[in-house]
Symmetry: C2
């Protein structure tokens, strides 16, 4: 309570980056995210969300994208603002920091391994180390938002390639939501939304009947992206 008041408010932008990867023990897919090790006080040595100070000439979303590129070398398949965190006590020292946090989906294949430097490491969401600042709260909230949004939105797209089978799409849902779905019912529900397009092609090389490949209908918006994309007009 005897803390000094900071003289100014600093503005940072951080990003919670999600990717789907096979779990080390089971061969199921699970959620992973990259963290960076802090190289200075406060919380030196602890893991933290990737981010940086907001410079006046950068857009908020641009800053989030830049962070993402720096940390993973990837382009987000989905990016959305999460929340602005700004309580007085969130920066262990006497500075006042407001962090505007974004969350992103990428599909982590080959490229992701590239930037596996000493200071960047991927962690399974349900096996995180101790985090710096209030970043644990932030991650928990981001995971909650991802799970919730997966229920009513089409963001699973962000974890997949251009074309995919219904089984792959289902596995994404199962990994994120943490439960399994009846393949038959999942198929019908997804197709009923009309957001998928049958490419006519099939995936071969499987040891069973070759499944159809689908593509997302680009005419449909994947989700409500916030206030800036005008997709929420009413008639």
């Amino acid at each position: 309570m005897g803390r000094q008041h900071a003289e100014r408010v600093d503005l940072a932008v951080s990003t919670v980056i999600f990717a789907l990867r096979p779990s080390p023990d089971s061969d199921l897919m699970t959620l992973w995210l990259p963290l960076v090790r802090r190289i200075r006080e406060p919380y030196e040595g602890r893991w933290a969300l990737p981010g940086g100070w907001l410079s006046p000439e950068h857009d908020l979303e641009t800053a989030a994208r830049a962070t993402l590129g720096r940390t993973t070398g990837l382009t987000p398949r989905y990016l959305e603002q999460l929340y602005a965190f700004g309580t007085l006590d969130r920066s262990a020292d006497d500075t006042r920091v407001v962090s505007i946090v974004y969350w992103a989906l990428v599909h982590a294949d080959e490229a992701a391994q590239a930037i596996d430097s000493d200071n960047v490491e991927w962690f399974a969401v349900d096996d995180l180390p101790e985090l710096a600042f209030d970043h644990r709260t932030i991650v928990d909230y981001a995971v909650w938002r991802l799970r919730t949004k997966m229920e009513y939105s089409r963001i699973a797209h962000g974890f997949l390639g251009e074309t995919f089978t219904l089984a792959q799409l289902r596995q994404v849902h199962e990994a994120v939501r943490g439960c399994s779905f009846d393949p038959a019912n999942f198929r019908r529900q997804i197709l009923a939304t009309g957001s998928l397009v049958d490419t006519g092609e099939h995936l071969t090389g499987t040891s069973h009947r070759p499944p159809r490949l689908y593509r997302y209908d680009t005419a449909v918006q994947p989700a409500d992206h916030g206030p800036l994309t005008p997709s929420k007009e009413q008639a």
Copy 2:
């Protein structure tokens, strides 16, 4: 495009304050919000959302509450962060401003009229004047959020007193959602959520059968308030 880059980023907190009031023409309830007239450039004379600069010793939510008190003299019945707006071009001059916007529900009765100074005025949401900055976008988004959240949350509470009849609650929903509901079905749906408590009392003085008075069950959270209230744990 030939704009100078600002030297720093300024942080503001604004609040979209909603109240339910009888419409001037029809006697239905409609959404209203207070705006303040700008007394300096840019956009001098235009109407804008109430707000102010964020000082280092104030919490984001505290700042939003303070704005609300200054403008309306009221305490919010509901308050939630809406979004952080931070595009480069949102401040007509060459300054860079990031606004963290909150939205609030109040019930505007006697007290509200008190602060009806020259610079504060209430407007019907579907009859707004031209607003300063990107505040029109912000208001539209806030209205969308209010409508959406009303569908699955219990925030209607924010517009009502301690006890209320089901008809009053239904009228709030109808005003915000913009359509009418079957009283019979509305009753069942609301009661099925288990969020209402029968006070046992009745409202008298009506020219028909006296309706029961209900109270919200305070044990149930009204809505997911964001990341800071830990109500989104899973078992």
